[in-house]
């Protein structure tokens, strides 16, 4: 999965460890957004024609274009349902969280 990973961030414990002013390393993820979801998308690869429209439209970019099964990074999928709604082959269905 070529998606950015959550990292354990070392918080500055003294003035000396503070960055120079309010700036921080880019691309640092410290917590998932998964908690936002009430449902999540499930791919049916049989129906999927790999047109990748879901990959293009996803507001979170959680679909892994390179993986065969178009894996979804459930750390950051917010379950908005957009991919399911737009999939021309209706290959994606939204499933209630925890089912």
């Amino acid at each position: 999965m070529a998606k950015p990973k959550i990292v354990k961030f070392h918080y500055p414990e003294s003035l000396a460890e503070m960055p120079l002013g309010p700036s921080a390393a880019a691309g640092i993820l410290t917590e998932p957004n998964a908690g936002w979801r009430v449902q999540r998308p499930v791919m049916d690869r049989a129906k999927c024609s790999k047109c990748l429209l879901c990959w293009v439209l996803c507001p979170e970019g959680v679909i892994d274009k390179e993986s065969e099964e178009l894996a979804i990074d459930l750390n950051y999928c917010k379950g908005c349902g957009l991919c399911a709604h737009e999939c021309p082959k209706e290959a994606i269905t939204m499933v209630g969280e925890g089912e």
């Binding site: 691309g27 640092i28 917010k78 957009l82």
Partner: protein
């Protein structure tokens, strides 16, 4: 022309805190896939900056700057001048600002930057109100939309003024390249970013960015709403270059505006008579478009 297979799976904007289904995530992701890692993003105070930089979580993996609300255009100027002065090339200076930050408080800075011909790309993701502060109207809020400071009421049908036309304001500056876009048509948008990438000087893209929370629709309808906007003529896809305007998509038959308005809570209060007024306004706008830009029709 952009082919999805060739696009990198690398995400330069990832893990942001925008509302589920919000268009700005798609817009930010796709723009940076085209422009690549040597891009500096300037974000004025807005949804985009608030949802992407909560210390220490930084969702842009390219250098980014959260900018004061009114100064996006000017900071882009400073960046491109600073790079030029140091002989640093092949860097894209990108401004990503909302409708208010662009058409209201930031218009003067943008106008100055464009008039100077500074080198940058400015993408205005237009969610048609000040969403970050809780849906207050901006000059790009459409007629009839309910917002918290242009509310529907017994004596009001919501926003009274038509949307300010930023695309034509940029044309009036004789900007090297301007375009309107919608992420319901992602390839059209990416091709426009690709084209802008190759043009020197200021480039401006005004892209529709529906807001599930502020407009009041389910988070999975974002793309459908954008499509309806174009199919009902409430938004259009066009490009301006070398003094000429090219319409990228002209609906053969305009759908009634009602189809676009009905699924959105912000228009739910509108009476049939209000809707007729909005439809008349749309038709007048398209007559103007035909006269100005589609002479042969």
């Amino acid at each position: 022309m952009v082919k999805v297979k060739e696009l990198t799976d690398q995400e330069y904007l990832y893990g942001h805190k925008a509302c589920p289904g919000c268009g700005l995530g798609t817009i930010g992701r796709l723009a940076l896939k085209i422009l690549g890692p040597r891009t500096i993003v300037a974000l004025p105070a807005s949804c985009m900056s608030t949802v992407t930089t909560q210390y220490p979580q930084m969702n842009y993996s390219v250098p980014s700057l959260t900018m004061a609300f009114a100064g996006t255009g000017a900071v882009l100027t400073g960046m491109s001048a600073g790079l030029k002065a140091q002989g640093i090339t092949d860097v894209h200076v990108l401004g990503l600002a909302g409708d208010g930050g662009t058409a209201d408080i930031g218009l003067q800075a943008l106008s100055g930057a464009v008039e100077r011909g500074d080198d940058f790309i400015y993408i205005c993701y237009d969610n048609e109100a000040y969403m970050n502060t809780g849906v207050q109207r901006s000059s790009l809020t459409p007629i009839g939309a309910h917002t918290t400071n242009s509310p529907a009421g017994t004596a009001s049908f919501g926003e009274k003024k038509p949307k300010k036309n930023l695309f034509e304001i940029m044309i009036a500056h004789r900007i090297p390249y301007a375009a309107t876009a919608s992420s319901a048509y992602p390839y059209d948008f990416m091709n426009k970013v690709e084209k802008a990438k190759g043009i020197a000087g200021p480039k401006f893209i005004h892209i529709m960015c529906p807001c599930p929370t502020g407009w009041g629709f389910a988070s999975d309808l974002t793309v459908e709403i954008r499509k309806l906007a174009v199919e009902t003529g409430m938004w259009y896809l066009a490009e301006y270059e070398n003094g000429k305007v090219k319409m990228n998509l002209v609906p053969k038959k305009m759908k009634p505006v009602e189809e676009y308005l009905r699924p959105q809570r912000r228009f739910r209060h509108l009476t049939a008579e209000n809707i007729k007024l909005i439809e008349e306004h749309r038709d007048r706008e398209w007559r103007l478009i035909r006269e100005k830009w589609l002479v042969k029709l």
